[in-house]
């Protein structure tokens, strides 16, 4: 009941009159009260001078009373205007982001798929020579470490492109990698030297071609890493594309 009672304030729609008109109404109403008080005092025998002085004090702080009445009349409207303004701003911002993302996504799709196909074509025809571990200069202490990158690239997939997987986009070392039965997406990303800055980790695409056609699977790698999604095993010939994102 109290809630319903509180909501009664919304029964009358917000005053839509110009603010100056609302202000003038309140001032005229308060002025009438002071004038009526003065008349009554004079009728009761008070001198006009004293009556005017006393009448002016009958409402206490008139400006305060005026401000209270004004807040009641316009407060709801001001609040609604602020909410409207904030919502409009948020809506415009969201629209802007949506359009920007849509345009970005379209550009990525148009440019990206063309680039993917071109890169894939070059990868398929490129013979990747296995990296020979580079002997680094012995650091102080005398222990020699092999180049860690020498383990990231797999040997060439023995001439069969179908026994490889391909990684493109925003990873440190994109390229062709040898497929194995236990190769998962996160393992492959690790083999690629992790994501680059601005890589869109939440929308990594696995492009899988089978006899039934091409399927694009969007994967949020963070969800996989956090355990919310199971590990995703890769199949022969999978193409992994890591798009760019500034969010």
């Amino acid at each position: 009941m109290r809630v319903l009672d509180a909501l009664r304030i919304y029964r009358r729609p917000p005053d839509s009159r110009p603010i100056a008109e609302v202000d003038a109404d309140i001032r005229e109403e308060l002025a009438f009260h002071i004038d009526a008080r003065e008349r009554e005092l004079i009728a009761a025998g008070t001198s006009p001078r004293d009556a005017a002085r006393l009448a002016c004090t009958c409402l206490g702080d008139v400006d305060h009373v005026f401000a209270d009445c004004r807040e009641i009349e316009l407060g709801e409207r001001n609040m609604l205007q602020r909410i409207n303004f904030a919502l409009t701003l948020v809506a415009l911002l969201m629209l802007g982001v949506f359009l920007w993302r849509a345009e970005d996504g379209r550009a990525q799709t148009l440019n990206g798929f063309g680039a993917i196909e071109a890169e894939l074509a070059s990868l398929r025809t490129t013979v990747i020579t296995p990296r020979v571990p580079v002997q680094q200069e012995a650091p102080i202490g005398g222990v020699t470490q092999p180049d860690p990158l020498s383990y990231l690239e797999s040997p060439p997939p023995h001439g069969d492109p179908k026994s490889a997987v391909y990684v493109l986009g925003k990873v440190a070392h994109p390229g062709r990698f040898r497929w194995s039965k236990d190769l998962t997406l996160t393992k492959l990303i690790a083999l690629c030297g992790d994501f680059q800055e601005f890589a869109n980790r939440s929308s990594v695409r696995i492009i899988r071609t089978s006899s039934e056609g091409r399927v694009i699977i969007h994967v949020n790698v963070d969800d996989v890493l956090s355990g919310e999604l199971p590990q995703i095993k890769l199949q022969r010939g999978d193409q992994i594309y890591v798009p760019e994102s500034f969010f």
Binding site: I9, L30, A36, D61
Partner: protein, 114 residues
């Protein structure tokens, strides 16, 4: 006489304004005057709080306002009780009756000493 006047019990202003408006439309000054008269000059409405209360009640739909002419032929804002206001007055009266009865019982209670 002025010394005998007392301020309104907190929370009763709305009820008294609604009651004052029950016979018909009044401007703010007349509302304060009627409450004073109905209480035989005992209750005084703090006039500074009367107008915010009137505006709040109008916003809540308990009363409605309309500009008209006063007895001195001056433009004045008259307030009239609405149907919701009348219903609200009924609720106030019931609540007040219960409270005043309870308070009276408490005050009338006699302590038994051993």
């Amino acid at each position: 006489m002025a010394e005998e006047r007392i301020d309104l019990v907190p929370g009763t202003l709305e009820m008294l304004v609604l009651k004052a408006l029950q016979p018909g439309a009044l401007h703010g000054y007349a509302v304060a005057r009627r409450i004073r008269q109905m209480s035989d000059d005992v209750l005084t409405v703090e006039e500074g709080s009367l107008y915010p209360a009137l505006h709040r009640m109008a916003r809540r739909g308990l009363i409605e306002a309309e500009w008209g002419r006063s007895e001195a032929n001056r433009r004045a804002k008259f307030y009239r009780l609405t149907r919701d206001g009348n219903a609200r007055l009924g609720e106030h009266v019931v609540q007040w009756d219960r409270v005043s009865t309870a308070v009276t019982r408490v005050l009338a209670a006699e302590w038994r000493t051993a």
